[in-house]
Symmetry: C2
Subunit: 455 residues, 2 copies
């Protein structure tokens, strides 16, 4: 079964697995103890930290371990904001950061801090000018991911790090998605990563705090907790291994993704490929399909033997539209992220290209539009995405050019998807209105979305 | 080399190692994903959680995972205090809790909360009456360990849980030291533990929050972080295995510790065995040696082939007197904790009993008292523990019965060790005075400790 969800996690790298087994024998003791077993564990831990530091472009004493990449972002963001609180209580981040950065920002806001989210372009890339403009004299920290986790777009980290350094603002770089591919360039101050994303063990995050960066951990101090030495060793061995394989893996995977990017739109009607075609991770491709329930599509692809994932509103368990796709102004429905592990073959890609059209068609066949309540009003209240868009599309040809169609919906995703559909179909999105203007008993969460037929 | 530091950590249990290896193949995927690999990881995770819940006396949905036992205590204490903040801002804990509980308490205090520390008796055991008396109408949480990590004394957890339940105060039980030996009895509300203490993997803590307990995590919410499935499985397999072996391990180790308790005082002069002889963990024994530098003794024992540890002022890297020994009023110098792993033999104990007297003598030989500055004043300013006690003991026979000896010291440990020495020697500890009363240029941190010779 082709596993196309490398950006979520990878199995332990074979060399890391060997290293883990040795370390369970040699490095199980507490590395802070003075006796022989403890000293041996300490030596192994020091070696692991040294390898990780070298690969991440840091000094050995700047590297610390956390329970996960998520926790590294939580404590990295909150710790740097706390350490720099005398400078001010303002935090700047891009709109497409990982949820762990956004959750830390929300906590900071609840505690009285102020947060600025910098938008991205339609490809998911932050503008250096916009980022620089958001920095203020009281900005205590800025955060920018090295590459986006949902669409693979690479961010201008080195340029932003330079701007931040000039402004005297520490920059935290979430390098979770790019760490396997190479070091993060530039004058950043903090860096976070997660070992299982590069073929290391689950349950090990890395936080780098460069010397001279003010930092105060938000967790209670504790010298008694001790590091997972076997995992640290496995993580170091895995990172060194994948870095050595990175150039050849890039050369192998980048053309496969380019082929998907080129061929998918022609194979499946109403499919939009998202993200930057050039400035991207080598192994990630994301697309959205109109009129498709994302979760149903994942099930169809699973049945066809493909493991892929999605960040879209219609597939995640939280039913919240993806903040990344929303920030890009991209269609959130029927969203699929394909992320290829090393070793993916051209035959795997052939098989996926063969399977996808049937999987999409099978999903679309399950969806039936509801009968119209009035010629120009599409009442989709109580129906989940993608039904509102399907009903809009079915009714649209029945109105004359120049007329306006009103979509009533209480699904938050419609606010993103109606404009995105207009963009894809070259129709005009007029704007929002109160749903009660069109239906007196509309529930309070419902809105009316107006679309003018141009052609 | 006999490893006598089981209370710090254990190598991975052989069955857990097998389970970990299988789980690295079968359970590496993200358990929240919908595809086959994800569903398989989810099934394994559910099974692990079910086993852990059954062994810990909880429901499956009450068990969650953290990065360590330390983190489980941090988030357990702070989360329960936050969830119950409407009841009040008061936290009660015993004076001998693990440092992670004390550090969480310090953070709570810094944030405006009030903390009451309940003292223990000379054996390290908290009194149920004293604990009950500390509970107030505004007490939001109480915490009591199941057994002490430094001296092995078992606490009256079931009784205290009952008192807390009657008073409407949730009780958090830190079960890190006892989890291998059996479930914690009684009506507790939260429970924490650490897998590597029972032969599970490092880097996995467990937090149980019983239904009906108010709780609000102090960490930012994050549904994207995912659990280390292989470690969870290894932890569950290890706990089930050690629980099945617990009765036979207890029967094998308890007499070995009893033998050490009985024979050590006769083998080494000026050695005090600490903790409760009966109500104790089966595998832990702690003692202190007068006139011994604890760190030097650990080195001597390591050279003799024994891995043991210490919580005493004279051996830990922080140079702070052990808060546990201080709360017991016990001697903090030359402290050694012996904690036996399953499989320890009578021959190992023989070897230890043979090696210890030489190791202690070797350590004591390195210490030379300084020349006396005045007949009745022992000036140990600038000298680290155990030198002040050694100098006191050397000078003591030179004063007549009924006379008073003054010890000048700027080492905090002297405040604990001079009274403890008096207790051991049946001499009278008179009290403290300003060091400048006896030496005009005494530094501000120095104190005078007065001892009357009774015999």
């Amino acid at each position: 079964m082709p596993y196309f969800d490398a950006a979520t996690t990878l199995p332990l790298h074979p060399l890391a697995r060997q290293a883990l087994l040795s370390a369970l024998d040699e490095g199980w003791a507490d590395p802070t103890r003075l006796y022989r077993d403890g000293r041996r564990a300490r030596m192994l831990l020091d070696a692991a930290r040294e390898t990780l530091a070298a690969e991440l472009g840091a000094r050995t004493d700047e590297v610390s371990f956390t329970a996960s990449g998520t926790l590294a972002n939580h404590v990295g963001v909150l710790g740097a904001l706390s350490g720099n609180h005398r400078k001010g209580r303002h935090f700047v981040h891009s709109a497409v950061e990982h949820s762990s950065v956004l959750h830390a920002a929300e906590q900071f806001e609840r505690d009285g801090g102020e947060v600025t989210s910098v938008g991205v372009d339609a490809l998911g890339r932050v503008g250096t000018g916009e980022f620089a403009a958001a920095l203020r004299p009281d900005t205590a920290l800025a955060a920018l991911q090295s590459a986006n986790h949902e669409v693979g777009t690479v961010q201008p980290v080195a340029e932003v790090a330079e701007l931040c350094a000039e402004a005297g603002v520490p920059l935290l770089v979430d390098a979770a998605q790019s760490a396997a591919w190479g070091p993060v360039p530039g004058r950043w101050s903090l860096l976070t990563a997660s070992a299982h994303k590069w073929g290391g063990p689950v349950g090990l995050g890395v936080l780098v705090v460069r010397k001279g960066t003010r930092y105060r951990s938000p967790l209670p101090a504790d010298d008694r907790g001790f590091v997972d030495v076997p995992s640290a060793i496995a993580a170091a061995v895995a990172l060194r291994a994948v870095r050595q394989e990175a150039a050849s893996a890039d050369a192998a995977l980048r053309p496969l993704v380019a082929r998907l990017r080129a061929e998918l739109p022609g194979l499946v009607p109403d499919l939009a490929v998202l993200g930057d075609a050039e400035r991207r991770l080598p192994h990630v491709l994301t697309f959205s399909c109109l009129y498709v329930d994302g979760e149903a599509l994942l099930h169809e692809l699973d049945r066809a033997g493909f493991a892929v994932s999605s960040g879209s509103s219609c597939s995640s368990s939280t039913l919240t539209p993806s903040h990344v796709l929303a920030a890009m102004g991209a269609l959130t429905e029927g969203n699929v992220r394909v992320s290829l592990p090393t070793g993916t073959t051209a035959a795997d890609i052939d098989a996926f290209l063969a399977a996808l059209p049937r999987a999409v068609a099978g999903t679309r066949a399950h969806l039936e539009p509801a009968p119209a309540s009035a010629p120009l009003v599409v009442d989709s209240i109580g129906k989940r995405c993608p039904v509102p868009i399907i009903e809009l599309a079915k009714r649209f040809p029945t109105v004359p050019v120049g007329a306006t169609v009103v979509v009533l919906s209480d699904d938050e995703a419609a606010r993103l998807d109606v404009p995105a559909w207009c963009e894809m179909r070259t129709q005009r999105y007029v704007g929002e209105a109160d749903a009660t203007d069109y239906r007196a008993d509309a529930p309070s969460g419902a809105r009316a979305y107006l679309v003018e037929r141009l052609s």
